[in-house]
Symmetry: C2
Subunit: 329 residues, 2 copies
C-alpha cells in the first residue's frame, strides 16, 4: 500500500455500483417481507437503519471486475447483507449490546427473545432465496460461511483469558467472525464469470476481511464515541482481547501486566482502569503492531487483485482496501 493523498470515502467506492445497490436494498425488503405484524415492525426498523452495505458493495464490484453479468447478482448481494444482518442481531443479543451504529439493537429496542427469533427468521429467508435461485454454488459458499461465523462467535465468547490467547487464536477468531463473510461475498461475486477468478477473489476477500477486523479492533483503542457510535474501550470493558493488547502484552513490565489482569478480573472495570490499559497498550507499541498487521493483510489483498484485468472496478477494489484501513468508524 502506497501513501494515499486523501481518505477514500464509502460513497466513492460505492459510486460504480450505486444503482445496483439501490436494487439490492429493494431486494432486501422483498426477501424479508412478512405478513406477521411484529416481524414486519422489526423489518421496518432494520431497513430504516440501512447499514453501510459494504459486503454487497464488495460482491457487486467483484462481479463487475470479473465481467460477471449474472442477472441475479443484486439478489445475491441482498442475501449477503441479510446474512450479515441476521448475524449482527444474534451477536448483539449474545453480547447484550444496546447500540449498533449508534442506533438501538433489536434486543434493546424489542427484546432478547425477539432478537433470537428475528435472526432465525432472516437467516432462513436468506436460505429460501438462495434455493430459489437454482444452482447450488452460492448456497454452498454461504452455508459454509455462516457456519464459520458461528464458530467465530463461539471463539469470541470464550476468549477471556488474556494470558492464554495468542495472536494465532486471534487470527482464527477474526477469520471466522469477519473475514469469512467478506471472502464469501467476493467469491459469490465471481460465480458466473471465468472460474479462474474464484480463488483469487475468495482470498482477496479473506485478507481484506482480516484487515477490516483488525482496524475495527484498533478503532476501539483510538477512536471516540462521537465517531464510531459506540464508546471507546468497549472491547476492554467487555473483556474482549484484541490484537493491540495481544501484541503489547509480551513487552509489558509486571506492573503493567498486573493492571491488565486487574481489568480483566473486574466485572465492571472503571473508565480510569480502561483508560490506563489503553495508554499502556499504546506505549508498548500494541497499536502500531496492529497497524502493521493490518497493512500486511492489505498488501496480501492487493496482490490478489493482480488476477483481475485492468478496469475501473479493479481500481475501486483497490480503493476498498484503502477505505478499510483508513476508515474512522
Amino acid at each position: 500500500m502506497g501513501p494515499q493523498l486523501a481518505p477514500v470515502s464509502l460513497a466513492s467506492i460505492q459510486e460504480p455500483v450505486r444503482e445496483e445497490l439501490d436494487q439490492v436494498f429493494t431486494e432486501l425488503g422483498r426477501i424479508i417481507a412478512a405478513e406477521f405484524p411484529l416481524i414486519d415492525t422489526v423489518n421496518q426498523h432494520l431497513l430504516h437503519l440501512r447499514g453501510k452495505m459494504f459486503r454487497p458493495t464488495l460482491l457487486l464490484l467483484t462481479a463487475q471486475a470479473t465481467g460477471n453479468t449474472q442477472s441475479r447478482r443484486s439478489t445475491l448481494a441482498a442475501v449477503v447483507e441479510l446474512i450479515h444482518l441476521a448475524t449482527l442481531i444474534h451477536d448483539d443479543s449474545v453480547d447484550h449490546s444496546v447500540l449498533r451504529r449508534g442506533q438501538p439493537t433489536v434486543n434493546a429496542l424489542f427484546s432478547h427473545q425477539i432478537a433470537v427469533i428475528m435472526g432465525d427468521y432472516l437467516y432462513s429467508r436468506a436460505i429460501i432465496e438462495l434455493v430459489g435461485l437454482d444452482g447450488l454454488e452460492p448456497l454452498r459458499v454461504m452455508s459454509r460461511v455462516t457456519n464459520e461465523m458461528t464458530v467465530g462467535e463461539m471463539r469470541e465468547i470464550t476468549a477471556h483469558d488474556v494470558l492464554d490467547f495468542s495472536q494465532d487464536d486471534y487470527d482464527q477468531l477474526i477469520d471466522a467472525k469477519t473475514a469469512s463473510l467478506m471472502s464469501g461475498a467476493c467469491e459469490v461475486g465471481t460465480l458466473g464469470a471465468d472460474p479462474a477468478y474464484r480463488e483469487p477473489m475468495r482470498r482477496f476477500g479473506r485478507s481484506l476481511g482480516m484487515a477490516f477486523q483488525i482496524v475495527d479492533d484498533l478503532l476501539d483503542y483510538t477512536s471516540s464515541e462521537d465517531v464510531t457510535g459506540k464508546p471507546a474501550g468497549l472491547d476492554l470493558r467487555e473483556h474482549k482481547i484484541t490484537l493491540p493488547l495481544i501484541a503489547a502484552l509480551p513487552v509489558m513490565d509486571d506492573r503493567e501486566r498486573a493492571a491488565v489482569s486487574a481489568l480483566m478480573e473486574d466485572p465492571t472495570p472503571s473508565d480510569g482502569s480502561i483508560g490506563e490499559v489503553i495508554a499502556i497498550t499504546a506505549e508498548r507499541g500494541g497499536i502500531e503492531a496492529a497497524q502493521v498487521r493490518a497493512e500486511e493483510f492489505s498488501a496480501l489483498a492487493e496482490a490478489e487483485l493482480e488476477a483481475l484485468p485492468a478496469c475501473r472496478a479493479r481500481d475501486t477494489l483497490l480503493d476498498c482496501i484503502s477505505y478499510v484501513v483508513e476508515r474512522q468508524s
Copy 2:
C-alpha cells in the same frame, strides 16, 4: 380412528426402521462434529440426550411406504432431527426453559449465549449437509419449514391476550410451530419416490403434527411431572394459551373467566390458581373439546394414508397416529 386395544409404543412404530434409525444417529454425530472444544462438549450433551427421533421415524416410514429407496434417506432424516434440535435449543433459550425431556436445557447447563450460538451452528450444519446432497428439493422443503417455525415462535411469544386469541390463531400457531416440520419430514420422505405421493404425505404430516401439538398441549392439563418430565400447568404458568382453555373460555361464567384473567395478569401465578384454572377448564369441557379436535386431525391424517399401497409401513404410519393421540409424554 377406531378404538385401540393397547397403547402403541414408540418402540413399536420404530421397529420397521430400527436399523436405519441407528444410522440416522450416527449421521447426526457426523454432521454436527466440531473441532472447537466447547462446541464438541455441547454436541456430546445433545447426542447423549438422544430424543425420541419421532420426526426421522416419520421420514423413514414414509420412504418405506412409498417405496423410496433413495440411499441418502438416513442423512435426510438426520438433518430433520438436527433442525428440530436447533429449533428446540433456540426455543428453550427464548422461553428461558430449564428442563427439556427431564434433562437440563443448553441455556440452563451452559448459558443463554451458548444456546443462541449452538442453535445457529447446528442449523447451518444442517444446511451444509443438504447442499452436499445435490438436488434442491429437500433444501426447498426444509428452508421453508424452518422459516415457518420462526414465524410460529413469534406467534407464540406474542400470544398472551387470552380474550383475543382465537382457535384460528391457535391453529396457525401450532401449524407453523409443530405441524410444519412433521409435514416436511413426511414430504422429504417421498422425494425419490413416485411424485404422486408427495402431496398426500405432506398433508398427512401436517394433520399428524396438528394432532401431535394439541395432545402436547392437552398433556399440560392432564399429566404429571413424573410422566412428562416437566411440571403440569407449565403452559399456564408461562401464560401460554392453548386449545383446552380457548375451547372452555366461551362457556365460562364471569367468576371463572375472572380467575383466568387473574392468572394471566399475575407474573408468578401460584400453584393454587393454576390448579383452579385447570379444574375450571376441565369442568367447562375444554379438555374434551381439545380431544375431539385431536381426533379430527387424526382422521384427516388417516384419510391421507389411502394414497399409499397396502404395506407394513403404511400400517405403521397408521400406528403413528395412535401413538400421537395416546401418548402420555
